[in-house]
Amino acid sequence: MRVTVKDASFSVDAELSNFSQARTDSVGALATFVGYCRSESATGGVESLHLDHYPGFTEVEVARLARAVVERHHLIDLLVVHRTGAVTPREPIVLVAALAEHRAEALAAVAELMDYLKTDAPFWKREMNGGQSRWIEPTEADRARRAARGD
C-alpha cells in the first residue's frame, strides 16, 4: 500500500504504470479512479482549486481509510495519491488504484475509498474565480453515499 499526499502536480500515467507493473501473477483486476479539476463547477467558472490539509494528520487519516479498504476488500495492493495546494483545471486531484484477484473487489474498493475521501479525509477545498473564493463542502449525494456505507 502506498499513500502520498503532496503539494505538487503528479503524472497519472507514471504513477499508474509504476503501480501496475509491480503486480504479481495472482492479480486479475486493476480498478482505478482519477478525479480532475474541472473548469466549470455547479456555481460557475473555476480558475483554480485550492486544497488545504492538516499536515501530519491528513496523511495518517488517509492511510487509515486506505488500510480499512484494503482489509475489507482483500486487496493485493492499493495506491492513493492526493494533491494539496493550488490545482488548475485539467490537473488531477486524486488517484486511487486497487489491485485484487477479482474484479468485484477492485471495483468496490475504489468506489468505497472515493466515498470516504469525499467526507472523511481532512482536506478543505476552495474554488477560486476572479479573486473570489468559495468553499466546496460535501454534497447531499456525497453524504448519502457515505451514510449508506455505515461506519
Partner: protein, 84 residues
C-alpha cells in the same frame, strides 16, 4: 501554551489559520473551548458553535463536545471535510 488550528470555513471566520494561546485551566472539554472562543470573537462564534464543525485534540478526532482538552498541545476545529 496550546496551538488552536482552524480549517476550512472556520479559518475564514477566525481570520487566521492558527493561534497559540494559554487556555484557562477551568476549560476541561472541547465544548468549553468552543464556548470560550465564541465569547472572544463575534465573527467566529456562529461558525465555531456549529455542530457541523468537528474537532480533533492532539490529532485524534473527538467523538463529541465532552471530550477532554486538559494538557492538549493542539486543538483543531474543522468545517466539513472534503477530499477526493
Amino acid at each position: 501554551m496550546t496551538r488552536i488550528l482552524f480549517f476550512g470555513r472556520v479559518s475564514d471566520a477566525a481570520g487566521c489559520s492558527e493561534i497559540t494561546t494559554e487556555i484557562p485551566r477551568e476549560l476541561r472539554t472541547v465544548g468549553d473551548v468552543r464556548d470560550w472562543l465564541a465569547a472572544r470573537d463575534d465573527a467566529l462564534a456562529p461558525v465555531i458553535l456549529s455542530p457541523t464543525v468537528r474537532a480533533a485534540v492532539d490529532r485524534v478526532f473527538c467523538s463529541g463536545d465532552a471530550d477532554l482538552v486538559v494538557d492538549a498541545e493542539e486543538i483543531a476545529f474543522m468545517s466539513p471535510l472534503s477530499g477526493g
